[in-house]
């Protein structure tokens, strides 16, 4: 392979990644050389600019045909475009959160790193979402993981932060090992790491033993990745880590990291296991045959997330459990494969809704906890009277998380339900668990609203909102309501731009 072949690839398709990478470099150099007294908060705006530029370049790439570089180690298909868009959008919001982040003991001199580690993590997620190759996928995943391990431990003097980071790294290491172990088997039974090739080999596979190993690999990869999305059985780190992590990082974990997890799940499952034959006769698809496992894990995730959240007094822990539950809802869509018609757009829409509402919630939490130094739910008390607009925004997010009509959360859930019912036999049990979980979630979600509106004021301090947070809140509120009332804006966009994601697997 010579230079010309190298140049023959359409590297323009990687523009967003390059922009993010470049921004990271610029940030790290600036951080290194700028005088110490220089307020590094400004770097956040630079990072934001980078993300926005990346976003714009991605939008300009939307009309591109599917691009594949270097035998699929990078591919820009509709799936990648769609999810990268979300990743960038979410990351932009989180950078704004991070801009306004002022923990009690301060980030001190590490604010610069704080910002560009977000970018590297984002880069990892982006690489992951547009890779058609196990190695790239794995490297991207690890880039994301390593960045987030560090981010979680950023508040060095905070013992909770240390502990969270340690827990995160240990669990993350185990999950990586399990995933990798699974991947090694996948490589073994297919002899390739290119998803397209693997898919073809697996579809043609009729040997029972190889299929069995493939199944083992499937479960290992799935359980390993369930760490990323914080789903059962690998969900337990989430509450501790969220609690210890800086709030923007917790938001990042619950939104971007989770999204990346779903990206990898969808990439792997849809390209490999959807077409792989599920038995030696090739009569059933592998996923079709084994979706009961995912379904039970999804159900378990929903139950655990919602039920344990009932007992939480710490806001971040509560939203950790809530995010577990939401991962469960999304897994329902994965398990049922959206009934065949509602998978990718459903997951995409739900993740978008989740970005909006969850980041909004974390913005409020960050605001309040940095004011009061506590993360107990009682800091919400009396917000309704003290700062009604903030309270209203919070209410919108909570209602959306609870899936109340008029918000994006509702439309997202509705989509998932459609997928569970459309086939015969419908996944009624799973849908039942999901709906029951939703009702249980009312209890704690509305418990927060009870604090906000019914309880006497917690502290009379006026809440000062930084402009960054202002923007986040406004975007999230508008988005949550807009896509709840007129979801077709999003649906039409995704259908017009990406159709049915038909270019998912390289046809080579």
């Amino acid at each position: 392979m010579d230079w010309n072949t190298m140049l023959s690839y359409d590297w323009g398709a990687m523009m967003p990644e390059f922009i993010i990478l470049g921004t990271t470099m610029i940030l790290s150099i600036l951080d290194l050389f700028w005088p110490k007294h220089f307020n590094r908060r400004k770097l956040a705006w630079l990072a934001l600019t980078g993300i926005i530029l990346a976003c714009l370049s991605l939008i300009s790439l939307l009309s591109f045909e599917t691009v594949s570089i270097l035998s699929d180690t990078f591919r820009l298909d509709s799936f990648a475009k769609a999810f990268k868009l979300l990743l960038l959008f979410g990351a932009a919001l989180i950078i704004l959160l991070a801009e306004g982040y002022e923990p009690r003991e301060g980030l001190r001199e590490h604010r610069g790193e704080f910002y560009y580690l977000f970018l590297t993590a984002l880069l990892g997620a982006m690489v992951m979402s547009s890779s058609g190759d196990l190695i790239t996928l794995f490297v991207g995943l690890e880039l994301l993981s390593l960045s987030s391990y560090i981010l979680v431990g950023m508040r060095k003097r905070d013992r909770k932060s240390n502990e969270a980071s340690m827990k995160y790294v240990i669990n993350g290491g185990i999950s990586t090992a399990i995933t990798l172990f699974g991947m090694s088997y996948l490589y073994g039974v297919t002899g390739s790491v290119n998803l397209g090739e693997m898919s073809r080999t697996m579809a043609a596979m009729t040997d029972g033993q190889l299929q069995y190993i493939m199944g083992l690999a499937f479960f290992m990869v799935f359980v390993g990745v369930s760490f990323k999305i914080a789903a059962a059985p690998f969900h337990m780190w989430a509450p501790d880590v969220y609690e210890g992590a800086p709030t923007p990082v917790a938001a990042f974990l619950s939104v971007i990291s989770k999204m990346a997890g779903f990206v990898i799940i969808l990439r792997l499952f849809l390209s490999l296991f959807l077409t792989a034959s599920g038995d030696t006769f090739g009569a059933l698809d592998f996923l079709e045959k084994n979706n009961i496992y995912i379904a039970s894990l999804a159900g378990l995730t929903i139950i655990i997330g919602n039920v344990v959240a009932l007992r939480q007094q710490n806001l971040k822990r509560m939203f950790a459990y809530s995010s577990i539950a939401h991962a469960g809802y999304l897994l329902v869509a994965v398990a049922t494969l959206g009934g065949g018609y509602f998978l990718l757009d459903t997951v995409w829409f739900y993740l978008m809704a989740y970005v909006l509402m969850n980041i909004g919630v974390f913005a409020v939490i960050q605001l309040l906890s940095s004011q009061s130094g506590s993360e107990d739910i009682s800091i919400l008390a009396g917000m309704g009277r003290k700062s009604p607009y903030l309270a209203m925004a919070f209410t919108v997010f909570i209602l959306s998380l609870a899936g109340i009509p008029g918000t994006t959360g509702f439309i997202g859930k509705l989509n998932i339900f459609l997928g569970t019912f459309i086939t015969e036999p419908g996944h009624f049990v799973l849908a039942g668990i999901m709906i029951a979980g939703t009702i249980v979630s009312y209890v704690y979600y509305f418990g927060l609203l009870v604090q906000v509106f019914f309880r006497p004021v917690h502290s009379e301090k006026i809440i000062k909102i930084r402009p960054g947070l202002h923007i986040v809140l406004i975007i999230c509120v508008i988005g949550t309501i807009l896509f709840g009332v007129a979801p077709n804006i999003a649906f039409d966009f995704i259908h017009d731009q990406f159709g049915d994601f038909t270019d998912f697997i390289s046809s080579k």
Binding site: L134, K160, E163, G173, S184, Y187, G188, G244
Partner: protein, 104 residues
């Protein structure tokens, strides 16, 4: 040529994986936990390399993959240790089971 069969390598990898896992989940010292995780990654590497020779379609890819893995493992070990340092500085312990400030 009747060499060592693929399954032998795979079983070895499995055994090492299990040992690593056991170590990671039972050892109290965080350093050992981290190193056990390395062992687990190593086990996966054995799989990759073995499949690269004896797989369905033998190729060098498995070895390349394992190289990536080794690098990542090293990076992870470094980061893990760094985290352990900052934890140790605040808590004066490296015991995993003493990390229970946050629970329930």
């Amino acid at each position: 040529m009747t060499g060592v069969p693929l399954s032998a390598y795979l079983v070895l990898a499995l055994v090492l994986f299990c040992i690593g896992l056991y170590g990671a989940l039972t050892k109290r010292n965080a350093v050992i936990v981290l190193i056990s995780i390395e062992l687990m990654l190593n086990a996966a590497n054995i799989n990759l390399v073995a499949f690269s020779k004896f797989g369905v379609t033998p190729s060098i890819t498995g070895q390349v993959f394992s190289l990536f893995t080794i690098t990542i493992a090293a990076a992870e070990a470094a980061v893990g240790l760094a985290i352990l340092m900052s934890l140790y500085r605040n808590r004066k312990t490296v015991n995993v089971d003493e990390m229970e400030m946050m629970k329930n």
